[in-house]
């Protein structure tokens, strides 16, 4: 396989969407394990076909557009998040010979896509013409714009160490040492910001069920809801693979396994970690989230960048 060939693109697209769909089952089973339950185990062996059942359900559900909604934005919103997250996968190097594009602005491209992803949530909530949806998208807008800042700044330490925005170059720069060691603070901030960007628990404030129904996708049903749903899982996969690439050496590992398997294993660990976060940590209040970000994470990430730069200059 060569980088950027049609076959590679098709395989990556299929794998990524397949993994995102499987996560429906993985997440429910893992949550079950951690809560001393069993989770879905009826459909097929170990409940594996639950994914198929969910798919059939979501495809055949009535796809209803409320009469009071702004149709143009209402239909556009779920398409944006899917497109944007899938586009972000274009710059991720999965293995030495697997990938779609080696862009010299790889990280920036991912950040740009993440910032455009905010529109999906905002338009979805705004066009629904519903109080809960509006509240959810207001929260989402503030949360995503704020956490993008720390996400970008926490990455700059890695960029400074490797001297490139190209994700493949960054992986090659980690041959001696994974960046998680010199950039541990950057890693923690990126992890937190990543959870907030993909608005999963504990930072699922835009869609907090207990407070505001389902937040921005209150009015959505059928496949339009499904796209929000799969988009969230795709975001989870994206953040996990980004952490793997940026801080844990990407595909590198002992030679007894092929590189792409190492990549999948490392990303899988982070996906499980995100599910553990969902199982364990309660949701903070909205103002706590904002003040935690701006008053604690922002100074910390700036300090991290400053110290990293100073150390690089000293050597």
């Amino acid at each position: 396989m060569e980088i950027g060939s049609g076959l590679t693109i098709g395989l990556i697209l299929g794998t990524v969407i397949g993994v995102a769909a499987m996560l429906i089952w993985v997440e429910r089973r893992l949550l079950g394990l951690w809560q001393e339950r069993l989770g879905p185990n009826r459909v097929g062996p170990l409940g594996l076909f639950q994914v198929v059942a969910d798919m059939i359900k979501i495809f055949t559900k009535e796809d209803w557009t409320p009469p009071f909604a702004d149709k143009f934005s209402f239909v556009l919103a779920p398409a944006i998040i899917m497109t944007v997250v899938l586009l972000s996968f274009a710059v991720i190097p999965f293995a030495p010979n697997i990938g779609i594009v080696d862009s010299n602005i790889g990280i920036l491209f991912v950040l740009a896509m993440a910032s455009i992803g905010a529109y999906s949530v905002m338009l979805g909530g705004l066009s629904s013409d519903n109080k809960y949806a509006l509240l959810g998208s207001l929260r989402a807008a503030a949360q995503m714009v704020s956490y993008e800042v720390f996400m970008g700044i926490s990455l700059l330490g890695v960029v400074a160490l490797s001297g490139s925005f190209d994700l493949r170059e960054i992986v090659h720069a980690q041959e001696d040492m994974w960046f998680v060691v010199p950039q541990f603070i950057g890693f923690v901030i990126f992890l937190i910001a990543g959870v907030a960007e993909s608005h999963r628990l504990p930072f699922d404030i835009p869609e907090a069920e207990q407070e505001i129904c389902a937040g921005y996708h209150t009015e959505y049903s059928g496949m339009k809801f499904g796209m929000f749903f799969v988009g969230e899982y795709l975001g989870l996969v994206l953040v996990s693979s980004l952490i793997t690439v940026l801080f844990f050496g990407g595909w590198m590992g002992p030679a007894f396994l092929p590189p792409v398997v190492w990549f999948a294993l490392k990303s899988g660990v982070f996906i499980c970690f995100f599910i553990l976060l969902r199982a364990a940590i309660p949701r903070p209040r909205y103002d706590q989230l904002m003040s935690y970000g701006w008053l604690f994470l922002l100074p910390l990430s700036l300090l991290n960048l400053l110290v990293t730069g100073a150390l690089i200059l000293m050597n």
Partner: protein, 179 residues
């Protein structure tokens, strides 16, 4: 500063670890249709009407159960046989209203109405949740095997006059002067 780190970082990591350890704990779930749970004999489930040891209906249609019922799901109509025994002409329980509280069982003076450990009463039609006397009556005595109301009660029926019940004295002749 230390308190902030304690609140935001350390306590969260401790929580994560504690939840992670549940991976190695056996699940509490009972896989119900495959694995039947043990039901205690005095569990309050489906209501039945029992018979006395002679095989007659215990219910004397006193309506106490219908009065005690907090959701008014019991309806019955009194009737009388030629020998003076009371019985319900119809006895109807609407199980879609019943809350299995057991008040009817406590109110019943004759141990006729009893609650059983059965709880699987799902139906496709709501009307099927209304049970008539034929559905409710069982052929046995339920939890109280020896009790027979007409043998201990003072009421006169055919074949048993006043004073002939168990542990009952002859009626006092109030017109006599003798003690």
């Amino acid at each position: 500063m230390f308190k902030l780190i304690q609140d935001t970082l350390i306590s969260q990591v401790v929580t994560l670890w504690n939840v992670f350890r549940h991976l190695f704990v056996k699940a509490d779930t009972v896989e119900y249709p495959d694995q039947q749970p043990y039901m205690f004999p005095r569990w309050r489930g489906r209501i039945i009407l029992s018979r006395d040891p002679d095989g007659e209906e215990r219910c004397v249609a006193c309506n106490l159960c219908a009065v005690a019922c907090p959701v008014d799901c019991i309806a019955l109509q009194k009737a009388e046989t030629d020998d003076g025994r009371w019985y319900p002409e119809f006895f109807r329980i609407n199980f879609s209203r019943c809350i299995m509280c057991g008040f009817c069982e406590e109110a019943c003076p004759t141990h006729a109405i009893q609650l059983t450990p059965d709880f699987e009463m799902a139906e496709y039609k709501r009307q099927d949740m209304v049970w008539e006397k034929e559905d409710l009556l069982i052929s046995g005595t339920g939890k109280y095997h020896d009790y027979n109301f007409y043998r201990v009660a003072g009421l006169a029926i055919a074949g048993k006059d006043k004073g002939e019940a168990l542990n009952e004295d002859k009626p006092v002749d109030v017109r006599s002067l003798l003690p």
